[in-house]
Symmetry: C2
Subunit: 231 residues, 2 copies
């Protein structure tokens, strides 16, 4: 039922956004790890990212891509799952933004830790980065390190002597550095989706925090984002 833990296997949190797609490209192409990807259907309003996630996984030759349903709307408290407006045309300040979903990364990493046990992976890859961790406590290194210890104590594999590692390859990179890495690895950013509040046809809004960071990242490199945006 359980596979032997292998240092060559990784579970990758793949939201379908720019960051997680780059983290997957890094793990699979640069590190050569056998990647199992996981996306979460958590009641998000930007559900097109679930399709994007599957497309990115396919484009990078992933054999095992899973979507796990977890009803975070039952918890409430976020503009991403509740009927609260997503802020437009402004970056979040130093406080925690309304798009923060309570404990989201802890929940996602816990589910990934369960999956890591059943597939025999010793690593979980997450696209957390410097842009996020000013605002989101569950993207900060102190949290990620603490989570790895907790997951090692709380799982069969970990408690029997094979520590679970949380790898955040983008942690020190800004958006343009992340894009540079992905382009170097041949990642097609046209398959990814970042918008928090896309139009019904899937087109990004171009104005939410996530769209702004993405567009600024491409602009800084004098590159064009392959996604279409409204006029």
């Amino acid at each position: 039922m359980y596979n032997q833990t292998s240092s060559n296997k990784a579970v990758v949190l793949l939201s379908g956004g720019l960051d997680s797609a780059t983290a997957l490209a890094w793990a699979s192409k640069e590190q050569g790890w056998q990647c199992h990807t996981v996306a979460f259907d958590y009641g998000q309003r930007h559900r097109i990212e679930l399709e994007a996630s599957a497309n990115v996984a396919r484009s990078l030759g992933v054999q095992d891509h899973r979507i796990i349903t977890v009803d975070l709307a039952a918890i409430g408290g976020s503009a991403l799952t509740e009927d609260i407006d997503v802020p437009k045309d402004q970056h979040h300040d130093a406080t925690i933004p309304i798009t923060y979903v309570p404990a989201r990364n802890m929940i996602f990493l816990s589910l990934a830790a369960g999956l890591a046990e059943t597939v025999g992976a010793s690593k979980i890859i997450i696209g957390a980065n410097i842009v996020d961790y000013s605002g989101y406590p569950d993207c900060r290194p102190a949290f990620l390190n603490s989570f790895a210890k907790t997951a090692t104590l709380g799982t069969k594999t970990g408690s029997e002597g094979s520590p679970l590692e949380i790898v955040a390859p983008l942690l020190k990179l800004d958006k343009s550095e992340i894009i540079t890495l992905g382009l170097k690895l041949g990642l097609d950013y046209g398959l990814t989706r970042s918008c928090y509040d896309p139009h019904p046809d899937g087109m990004p809004c171009g104005h939410c925090d996530s769209c702004l960071f993405r567009q600024e990242g491409f602009a800084k490199l004098s590159k064009t984002d392959p996604l279409p945006y409204p006029e």
Copy 2:
């Protein structure tokens, strides 16, 4: 959107089993905390526990009882969610049993931590106890303490200075001591369900690990389990 954190509010993991029901009775009646209860629809074969959970919450006057759906069957690896036989007429040995669901308590506690943020609770109550923690790594004190630190780092409330506490009031109690506590608090154990593999009509099997521990607990006290069992 968020409530102020209050030391009087607790989120209680309420599976509908004997342990979690007793933990709720302790938190609500002995401590006088305002309890928000949460049950998880995770693809378990013993789904009758979801009804039991709601009945126990109601009987103890809980105002806010939630069921959160999380598809642990997508992770696999357990007799409780997969088509693997539940062992009968034997207790698990010192190894981790087939009824272990990978990372289950970490996943449930993470979801409870998200809920604690939105309702403004500073404590999560879990019915983990000495019977469990020989077998289940995610019931052990070292894990629970580490989880509390991780959740404090990874949540808005925690990272802003209000630590999240994990309270396991049954940790040192065996099954008969747990039942003694519940009976003292007037808990109706006829509302609870413990069986891993109930009959289609909801009657407990009487032979799984969980049924055996429960029956032995009542027998040791020379009390009768109010649940009906097959002949």
